[in-house]
Symmetry: D3
Amino acid sequence: MAEFIRSEGRAADQLRPVRITRHYTVHAEGSVLIEFGGTKVLCTASVEDKVPPHKRGSGEGWVTAEYGMLPRATHKRSDREAAKGKQSGRTQEIQRLIGRSMRAVFDLTLLGERTIQLDCDVIQADGGTRTAAITGAFVAAQDAVNGLLASGKLSQSPIVASVAAISVGVVHGTPLLDLEYTEDSACDTDMNVVMTGAGHFVEVQGTAEGQAFSRTEMNQLLDLAEKGVTELMRLQQEALRNL
Amino acid sequence: MAEFIRSEGRAADQLRPVRITRHYTVHAEGSVLIEFGGTKVLCTASVEDKVPPHKRGSGEGWVTAEYGMLPRATHKRSDREAAKGKQSGRTQEIQRLIGRSMRAVFDLTLLGERTIQLDCDVIQADGGTRTAAITGAFVAAQDAVNGLLASGKLSQSPIVASVAAISVGVVHGTPLLDLEYTEDSACDTDMNVVMTGAGHFVEVQGTAEGQAFSRTEMNQLLDLAEKGVTELMRLQQEALRNL
Amino acid sequence: MAEFIRSEGRAADQLRPVRITRHYTVHAEGSVLIEFGGTKVLCTASVEDKVPPHKRGSGEGWVTAEYGMLPRATHKRSDREAAKGKQSGRTQEIQRLIGRSMRAVFDLTLLGERTIQLDCDVIQADGGTRTAAITGAFVAAQDAVNGLLASGKLSQSPIVASVAAISVGVVHGTPLLDLEYTEDSACDTDMNVVMTGAGHFVEVQGTAEGQAFSRTEMNQLLDLAEKGVTELMRLQQEALRNL
Amino acid sequence: MAEFIRSEGRAADQLRPVRITRHYTVHAEGSVLIEFGGTKVLCTASVEDKVPPHKRGSGEGWVTAEYGMLPRATHKRSDREAAKGKQSGRTQEIQRLIGRSMRAVFDLTLLGERTIQLDCDVIQADGGTRTAAITGAFVAAQDAVNGLLASGKLSQSPIVASVAAISVGVVHGTPLLDLEYTEDSACDTDMNVVMTGAGHFVEVQGTAEGQAFSRTEMNQLLDLAEKGVTELMRLQQEALRNL
Amino acid sequence: MAEFIRSEGRAADQLRPVRITRHYTVHAEGSVLIEFGGTKVLCTASVEDKVPPHKRGSGEGWVTAEYGMLPRATHKRSDREAAKGKQSGRTQEIQRLIGRSMRAVFDLTLLGERTIQLDCDVIQADGGTRTAAITGAFVAAQDAVNGLLASGKLSQSPIVASVAAISVGVVHGTPLLDLEYTEDSACDTDMNVVMTGAGHFVEVQGTAEGQAFSRTEMNQLLDLAEKGVTELMRLQQEALRNL
Amino acid sequence: MAEFIRSEGRAADQLRPVRITRHYTVHAEGSVLIEFGGTKVLCTASVEDKVPPHKRGSGEGWVTAEYGMLPRATHKRSDREAAKGKQSGRTQEIQRLIGRSMRAVFDLTLLGERTIQLDCDVIQADGGTRTAAITGAFVAAQDAVNGLLASGKLSQSPIVASVAAISVGVVHGTPLLDLEYTEDSACDTDMNVVMTGAGHFVEVQGTAEGQAFSRTEMNQLLDLAEKGVTELMRLQQEALRNL
């Protein structure tokens, strides 16, 4: 089968241009606009001095996430969830994934009885919004934690590792890194991989949209994902080094 | 009473710096980021080839609006309306106001059986979000209509006038133009004024937050609003002249 | 343009017959049926020894309102909001207006930690339901406060002024006072004006339904409203003088 | 056991004063205020030229009911169902009962493809609201049908019998007719009985609130109910004879 | 009129085969599968060490019930209530009936501040699900109470009588005991009768689905119900005697 | 690290006893009770002659799933989703997974414009409910398709492969097949794997609950899953061979 040709001559194992803009808005303790090509997600981290009921009195904190998409972030307008009166199953699935991914790198006992609430809102969508959200949310969370350390509210960082995520998929038989929307729509297999700085997996979610996928394809996709996440982590650290 | 001193030495009858960025996102038929100082609202216009039930078969179109605020657009995080499962009374009040304001300058018979859906989402809030939304939504709507004219779907513009809006208020006895958040919180009277290019009123919504206001104060506020809206309309036209 | 002829030979600046019936139902601390012509609204005031969360422990009280319309109060039956599972934007807008209007004449620190809940339910609608509701709710609230004073629960009235409201509008070019339904449907401009006994404004909400309105029309409408509210306040006081 | 003494010297088998006021509001095709002592229910009948999905194309009509209670119809204010976003189980139970009771005396094939919607709204409650609602709704429905006959939309009445309802109960060992609120709260057994003009039962709903009841008590209660319903039907006919 | 012939040669006053299986699932404090012919209801009793707000601090307990039906328990699939976002009026009516029936045989002061929550879920439906649910829920509740007694959490049983329920109805003129689905659909009158071990009534709910019913028919139905409930109580006791 | 000892001496790569009971209830076109040890899920397949809006007129069918858990399927009672008025994020995530898994083995063009609705209701939970649901739902779907073939409504089966699912996880450092509840609660990594009869992957969902997992662990888990799914498919076929 002829290899799939990507837009703008992108290689199969190449990320789209990634941009991480910190301090994008002024009120949040962490505020990051992350761009994976045409996908733009605003990730804010809010620190609140309370925890949900199941953590009250435990001395531990909580980290959680919510996800939303502006109605016209997409090619075709989608209905506003607030107007419909409920979040879709897709939205809930994504925000649960972001929350689990962030908690995987937090030591909640070191956070104290406070909550870091991550809000990931898609301003413009072109595939990979959930992986951009995780990658950006980590930077926002780090900024929020740095603020707590700077103000003396925390003496030790509760963040035990970095975390980032990327999508991979098989499109017309070719394994590709960081799918954009047209690739995502055409793919047979779509996989989202969340990894820590130590190269371990936090989440692997692979779905056969068309054909079921083989163990060999799975291994190719995981190889691509490892490459992509390594690159994303370099970009996260670079962004965090700047003021 | 000593006159109220505004931040950054702003005069009582002076707008905050206004910025109108067209084509802010790529998918919508009109997409405008409007900034009134620290208030930033993304206004998109989506054209859909259908109308709500009460217009079906009428040959007329419809123009409507929805409003939202990102959870951490504000100093303190507010709950996500999609997660709570309903829009607040405030949100509904604002989006009804935006919709009426836009319809006031549309000839729906000239629009044909299509809908222009305006989505106004507050990225960052510092007072005056509803007036910024109306002012920006007009530009987005104009871009969407220009697209319909350019593609030949419309032969005559259904927009019969321009529309813009500004807030005015009495703060510590001083009538002020374009209230920012700290002024809005402290004001006795808060008024939102929506006007057409012809200098007529589309909406006047004045509320005594503290002291009731006199007819004299009302007249001072309307004078300020007329001045502010005239300036906003100049900025709208300037933005629309650029590509 | 020929002047608009009103039903039953009513003058442009004339109220419909107003009737205020106190003690309309027996359980509420205040219970008033107010009629503006064919518009009939039952306004009850309920005193509760608790306050909403944002007032707890503040020593202050709260005054709030809810609004409803019986399904067949109108020409055509409208769906029951309780059955639909939510209040319309219009309902929320009106009940927020009533609540703000009542709080404008209350000193909440004098009320103590209790709530006066005003329920305004439209039994029959013929235009002006929100202004009738505000005018009637004030009488119900006064009755409730009188009860608290009589029983010694309050030693000083928290009511610092009277409040009443009327609609005005421009119909076929003629400014009119107290619009009935057919006038309201035909009007170019519709304005609801809430004023205190001192002749100051609490709320001014003007909307151009058709043509935008000029500053001159605005002034004519405010003149009419002042006249109407003055008359309503005389009727409120008259009603309150009787047992 | 000493016999229970009723308020105002009412006999055990005596109804409270019943008043049926037709044409209480002006818009509905039938509009009846029915009073059983201190219980006041507004029953409107609305005729709509459509039927619910399960009747579409059947040639048959539909009769249905909704029930509501104004928040301060009762001693203590109850939350507004529209604000809470759902009807209580009690409300649904009552409106289903009213609907079944009305359909029991309608020949839906004679009604044609139209709906008679009965709205029963309690203005003031003092026990027996559901039985008052059924008794009043029948009169409103009859008025609506008479209108359809008078206008020639129907040539034959779809109403095949009259229907009325009354509550009975055992209070402190004494079987009583037409319980008022204080009796209802104190009763061991509470029964609502819906009957046709032919003396047959449409609904019998008996509930032991305290002690379970014997077959003998059941028979005493049914005797009382038959007496009460017979009297109510006389009052319905009397009301319908007047203009 | 020829007598109605029942399936499998069942006599008019004969129950369907009844099976009561205790310990059907392992986690609940009481877990009973009850079968009335083809109707199968799983009734679980859960003991919780808390009470609803209206009982807090009272020293009394609470007994309540919820009812559900699996989507394909019936001939035609019905929508899942959890997916629709609300329980139907029918569901609420039934679970309120089960709750009242159970509370009728409980002395809540002897239960202490705990709740027995009964969940009645219909696995397969063939008429009479609510009466099977009541009959089975009593056995589950008894098992839960026996557990509390065995563990010493209670020293005296709060259950003061047994309770069971059966449906009766008039089908084509014949009074029948324990209606199955096809009989229920065809019946003129449908009555659910809940009785205590002492032979007294807890609930009688009779509804004329077609023709209104006479006092004579009512008496015949009550006779049948008494016979049926007596038999059900024998089966409950038999089931409880086994381990 | 010492190897984790499983209950009842189960080997690390051993399934719990699996039981598949077809025709468990009578109304559904497919009805299967599947048991993985103490986990019991009722899976019904309902055939409906309609498709959701996005498939109307396409000539294609649809396969979808819903998932629920009886309130007391678990150790501690969980609130009924129908009573809460919404399905949890977890429920939606699971039912979306089941739906995608089933569609992966259906050729929707061969199904014609009809829907197969799979309802998976957990009667008793002890870990692995979603994988049991997928495995059982396939058998129910096969029964429903066989019925369509037998009745001549379909001439060719739309099922193109079999599908089954199993959970695997790392508990205290040991990779285990088919986690039961206590293992699931203690695990560091939890992975659900859905595979076709051809040995390809439909879904792989791995989550690090505690420690992130290495590529080596991932490979061990996938090996275990392949073994387990192969065994489950043998049991599915065996069950389907019986009448």
